[in-house]
């Protein structure tokens, strides 16, 4: 068990904790905006820690760059989606508020 694997395991555990927290928050919280907050935490921080923990196991440089690219795309998609959903809920102009 070399220290790099230990570090990787610890980072993966932190990522899994953030995913659990996001899922529990999505199920248990009562307000829509609170749920949005829990969702974005799980998206950005949880997947970020998992990508960081998988980074020492990457076979070559290109694979590591692809991992970072996946995380960047998820962050961009998560921010865009959270803003769109929150704006739609604030203005009340969605089709579900007819």
């Amino acid at each position: 068990m070399d220290p790099l694997q230990l570090l990787s395991g610890a980072l993966l555990l932190v990522g899994a904790f953030f995913f659990i927290a996001g899922t529990v928050g999505l199920i248990r919280l009562h307000d829509r905006f609170s749920r949005l907050h829990a969702l974005t935490k799980a998206d950005n921080v949880g997947l970020g820690f998992i990508v960081l923990g998988l980074m020492p196991l990457a076979p070559d440089l290109f694979y590591g760059l692809k991992l970072v690219l996946v995380w960047l795309l998820v962050v961009i998609a998560g921010a865009t989606g959270a803003h769109l959903i929150a704006k739609r809920a604030l203005r009340g102009d969605g089709e579900d508020v007819l």
């Binding site: 829509r32 809920a89 089709e95 579900d96 508020v97 007819l98």
Partner: protein, 95 residues
Amino acid sequence: MNALLTLFDLLLTLTLLGLAVVTVTSRELRRAVILFIAFGLLLALVWARLRAPDLALAEAAIGAGLSGALMLAAARRASGRKTSTGEDSDAKDAP
């Protein structure tokens, strides 16, 4: 390792089956479409577990992404037509 993999497969299959039942038995269009998108994501996960990355790619891109977006647009138009003629809307789904 092997027992963990079996547990993973069991959880994946049970979630997929439950999602399929909820999707087919849902009465609202929009709910069914969102559940269908989630079902496509899980089916892509199953293909990835079966070591078929090309099938998982096709399922995620076509099954979940493109047809999901098209069905969302179609469901929006269908519900708009229904409410404009004054029939029942999905008002019970409003916040």
